[in-house]
């Protein structure tokens, strides 16, 4: 129980989203989240296999509409970095969601003003 809570409470995520853009500009969004992405193929120092525990899904919505989604497998490196483009035509809010194998979801958000 305690181990799960520590993992969750220590998860950091970072976003790089421009704060302004012009209508129909294609912006680049960068995301980074702190997660060991245990593949299920590594062992700890006592030789015991560490069970798989990864972030298996990442989605981004803009004003509630999905604009990007990615299904992640154990081959994705720890501390997943994902960079993708979005064409913006209005101001609004990006919402980012990462879903962990253990059921936890991590969220972050950013605003953009489009003129």
């Amino acid at each position: 129980m305690a181990a799960v809570a520590d993992t969750i409470s220590n998860v950091q995520s970072r976003l790089l989203v421009p704060s302004t853009a012009t209508k129909n500009q294609v912006i680049t969004i960068k995301t980074l989240i702190q997660h060991p992405m245990y593949s299920g193929f590594t062992k700890d120092s006592s030789g015991k296999t560490i069970a798989r525990e990864i972030i298996h899904s990442f989605t981004c919505t803009f004003n509630g509409q999905p604009v990007f989604a990615m299904d992640l497998n154990p081959a994705i490196s720890a501390n997943p970095f994902i960079e993708f483009p979005v064409k913006v035509d209005q101001s609004g809010t990006f919402e980012f969601t990462w879903v962990d194998d253990n059921g936890a979801t991590y969220k972050n958000q950013a605003q953009i003003t489009v003129s």
Binding site: N24, V26, S39, F41, T42, K43, T49, F62, Q65, P66, V67, F68, A69, M70, D71, L72, N73, P74, A75, I76, S77, A78, P80, F81, I82, E83, F84, P85, V86, K87
Partner: protein, 153 residues
């Protein structure tokens, strides 16, 4: 490259043997994916046939470290409502499992490109397949070399 003295030579041989041991302890995986596994996995994500062209994989020819290899996939597409990339599937033929990622796009992206970081257990070929809105699919592959660090670590 400088000549290495005889004294170092025997140590180098020992290094080779030691590296073999290091290799085993670093890669404790029972079996690796094969090109056939990749075909099956990709086929389940995006059915063929696969044409060549349109898809570009950017990756270093030699990975600095197999645990974190930055790769980029870009697909030549106008990303309009009539013509856009729906899905990109990425697979690796030398990892314990073939699937790497499936990316879902739409005209909302404006461009079809994505960058992320992957793990490669050994030298192997990455396959990226893009499915277009009209159902056609394009594939590209790239060999990425992965070396064990000089001192086995």
């Amino acid at each position: 490259m400088e000549d290495i003295s005889t004294g170092m030579m025997s140590r180098r041989d020992l290094l080779g043997a030691a590296a073999g041991v290091a290799l085993i302890s670093l890669v404790p995986v029972p079996a690796d994916a094969t090109p056939d596994d990749v075909k099956k996995w990709v086929g389940a994500a995006i059915p063929g046939p696969y044409q060549s062209g349109k898809v570009t994989i950017s990756a270093p020819p030699i990975a600095e470290n197999g645990n974190t290899v930055p790769i980029g996939i870009s697909v030549d597409s106008p990303m309009t409502d009539q013509n856009y990339v729906k899905t990109i599937a990425v697979a690796a033929d030398g990892n314990p499992l073939p699937g790497v990622a499936v990316i879902h796009l739409s005209p909302a992206n404006g461009q079809a490109n994505v960058n992320f970081r992957i793990r490669l257990a050994q030298t192997q070929t990455i396959t990226a397949v893009a499915q277009m809105s009209d159902g056609t699919a394009y594939a590209a592959t790239q060999l990425i070399k992965v070396t064990i660090g000089g001192c086995g670590g």
